[in-house]
Symmetry: C2
Subunit: 501 residues, 2 copies
């Protein structure tokens, strides 16, 4: 979920200086347009870890737009007026009217997150609150509001560095308090609570937009551009019945993403490969025979670029398992029977029972990958799929399944090499089709679909593992090692209650 | 919520015999139409109290349609195959494919309701499950399914009578077991749990349809007609993008409803009126001065036919209160400021703080009454309003508010008499406008809007009180007495935790 906000995104000062005037002019333009039409309000939530630049970005948005038509609302402890009414009352009275922009610095998410971290709120109470919030946001969107929820993320190291930098600068030193350092101590707890909160409230109508907070220029330019773009899109809907549309997920300004940041040069020599492969295969064989595994199940998901080596990797895993204990489910076009059912039905039917494993060679992620890119389903369909998929995996995990998801990535050059090799080799020719060549032309579309997928479905319970697959040996060992590690961790942790605790 | 299913609905055998052949022919027709087009499945849930005729109605539906294209699924304890997978797996695998009808006798609601009644499930666990269910049903509807959820209701007496009748008939006696009588003992608990479950899962895309179970002919004909009508409507949507549309809420076949069942002849003599008015006014004055009220608040909602006497009743309540302690909020057309906000905003702003009262003279129910009837909002808007309103009131109650809602009903004749009197009396003339006369022409539309409103928003936490208002004395005393009783009950019950417990 936070993977793409730990890549060290950066925009240099020069680019920033040339970009800002354009952005500013455009923002003012749409702001006035909005103001005249008075058709919808914009609700911007700025949340995230301490020291991630929430205040700075809000101030910049102020200076970029006409501040007379923005209201910023910072919520500290509720007043006695507020405490003696339903807890959402303070937010209701702060909502911006149609035509205006309301920036919520700290929002309906702040208190529940804090209370959960300090233990003042139980998990079940948090979840009830999140449902209230989801319904509230659905109402806002149904009433026409454009809701943009930003979460500013910092890696633990990043947070430490930010605090030091703020302290050094006499203008910002006052912002760093003892509490800021205290929060560093609860960093892991925050990440786990925030991960849960963001997953539950990552709805199709009001998804979270996660932004790396480290670099001021990157962060502010990113937020500014997303706000601009979303407002523009929403203005174009004018006249038509307002369809709730999620804000577009922008490519990063510095074009860094989770895929481009992979080091595809990683290799494993044949000798090392053979010894490590053997080691992890035998460890895996032991793990699935562990008596504790009888109450669990294993769900492996393989996605990846065409010709990235999914099949070969899956065979290396199968080699470690007893054929009676697992099945491989290759996912191609749905059968007639499957097309007559809800999208996820064909995956539900293949879930393993306890003590068993299912390996999905391609999976339910088809909806947000090929179906999205090829237009096989509507935007509304794939936008709601993220939440449906998270629900689906969450239900698996709660029933004891260990869900391990792999994306195998190769470079465009390596793919070309493999395609050619397949065409030239008699027994591999069946593996290459016209479709593969067509998909290749949509390389960039696939890259952004994969990045969105990782952003929205790499949850604490079912994280994605991105695998550098230019070298098959490296990839296979990384996959096997990851499966072993996830299994070990899960079996160690086995108290009979799975899922969020 | 169950009010309209306790009216003693009945269809005589002769009507039944003439209606069934037509219904049957039409049902078969749409069933084949559906089967050919294979555009959507129909998911029918038959739930409700024991002995309310679930089995009988399912059997009838079978005999009315082509049973080869219906699947009925009764869910008892999960098999070991099912237990070793996520709990929704058994329902996923039972889903009907497009073109077919699946009848769920006992459904994803059964287990949670039973477990909650027996105490095996905590309230928070139930609520988590209900969220899963809501998301699951939203997915079904988004995937194109027509979801019809029936709840068969019996009053406690009705249930007793049904059991006796089943026992008497040698063909049905086997159905009555010791367990059936045990369930009679938990009747109140079931009603309270079911009320909660139905409120939370009464979504705009898959609302509950509550049917009185007492009379076989009424129940089956009602279900048959609703199924037919919903399938027809859904088939007409063909081609267009499938918009989730809630099934229409049909007028009862025997044209009985919560309003027509009121005895409007009830009267109170002047002498009795004066003494009772004084009694309840002074009791009310005491209650709001009770130290325990300092932590609570009072929200009174007045809706009713035009000229039903809301104003006069409100003044009688005001007379018992300290002017500093309450405010009356008359709801007319929204102001410009209010129009620029979500619909419920203008009501949120007037919520009383603790220790205070607000009297709403007309209210948020305008959306499902006048706005629905006059077409001031879209069908989608008023359909989602029921759930939004229930949420809104639920949040009030959880913050300590006591919410008392009145519908004042007069007969059409009495209304005409009052309208004429207003026109003829100088100082009352301002009270009658052309709009009142126009509304009167839509009498029937208002009746069905009110019935739907009561069905969907008369919750355990914020029930409606329907007031027979042809006699003003009677109405005023009934209102005052109800306010006092609700307040007494709430203050007695005060453990600092409000809402569902």
């Amino acid at each position: 979920m936070f993977e793409s906000a730990e890549l060290g995104h950066k925009v240099d000062k020069k680019t920033f200086k040339t970009e800002v005037p354009k952005l500013r002019a455009e923002l003012l333009d749409v702001q006035y347009d909005m103001l005249q039409k008075k058709e919808f309000p914009v609700v911007i939530l700025i949340s995230g870890v301490d020291g991630s630049g929430k205040g700075e970005t809000i101030n910049l948005l102020y200076s970029w737009m006409d501040p007379r038509h923005i209201s910023t609302l910072a919520f500290a402890a509720p007043s006695d007026e507020e405490r003696s009414r339903p807890y959402m009352w303070r937010y209701w009275r702060a909502l911006p009217p149609k035509g205006k922009v309301g920036i919520f610095a700290g929002s309906w998410y702040s208190q529940p997150i804090t209370d959960r971290i300090t233990g003042q709120m139980r998990r079940s109470e948090l979840d009830e609150r999140l449902d209230d919030i989801n319904r509230f946001e659905a109402m806002l969107v149904n009433e026409g509001a454009l809701v943009l929820k930003f979460w500013f993320h910092l890696s633990k190291d990043g947070q430490k560095k930010r605090l030091k930098a703020l302290e050094k600068n006499p203008n910002t030193a006052w912002r760093v308090t003892k509490e800021s350092y205290d929060r560093l101590k609860t960093y892991n707890k925050l990440q786990s609570v925030a991960g849960h909160v963001l997953r539950i409230s990552n709805t199709a109508h009001a998804p979270w937009i996660i932004v790396e907070g480290t670099d001021d220029e990157y962060r502010s330019l990113t937020v500014g551009r997303i706000v601009l773009d979303a407002m523009k899109r929403r203005l174009q809907q004018e006249g038509r019945r307002q369809v709730p549309v999620a804000p577009p997920i922008l490519h990063a300004i510095d074009s860094k993403n989770v895929l481009s940041s992979l080091d595809l040069k990683q290799k494993l020599l044949k000798k090392d490969y053979e010894s490590q492969l053997a080691k992890y295969q035998s460890r895996l064989a032991e793990l699935v025979r562990d008596p504790r595994f009888a109450k669990r199940s294993l769900v492996l998901v393989f996605e990846g670029s065409d010709a990235a080596g999914k099949g070969g990797t899956i065979r290396r895993i199968g080699a470690a398992l007893d054929a009676r204990q697992y099945q491989i489910v290759p996912i191609a076009a749905p059968t007639e029977e499957e097309r007559a059912q809800p999208y996820l039905w064909r995956f539900w039917r293949h879930l393993p029972r306890t003590g068993r494993a299912t390996i999905f060679d391609r999976s339910w992620y088809g909806r947000v990958l090929v179906e999205r890119v090829e237009g096989f389903c509507t935007e509304a369909d794939w936008l709601r799929a993220y939440a449906e998929i998270n629900d689906f995996e969450h239900q698996m995990v709660e029933s004891g399944a260990i869900v391990v998801k792999f994306w195998l990535q190769i470079s465009a050059d390596e793919q070309l090499r493999r395609f050619k090799e397949r065409q030239d080799t008699e027994f591999k020719r069946f593996k290459i089709t016209d479709e593969d060549w067509r998909n290749r032309e949509k390389w960039d579309d696939y890259v952004s679909a994969v990045c969105d997928m990782v952003d929205r479905t790499s949850t604490g319970l079912a994280p994605w593992t991105l695998v550098e697959a230019n070298d098959k040996n490296f990839a296979r060992v990384k996959v096997l090692r990851t499966v072993c590690e996830r299994l070990e961790e899960a079996l160690k942790d086995d108290d009979g209650k799975y899922g969020d605790k």
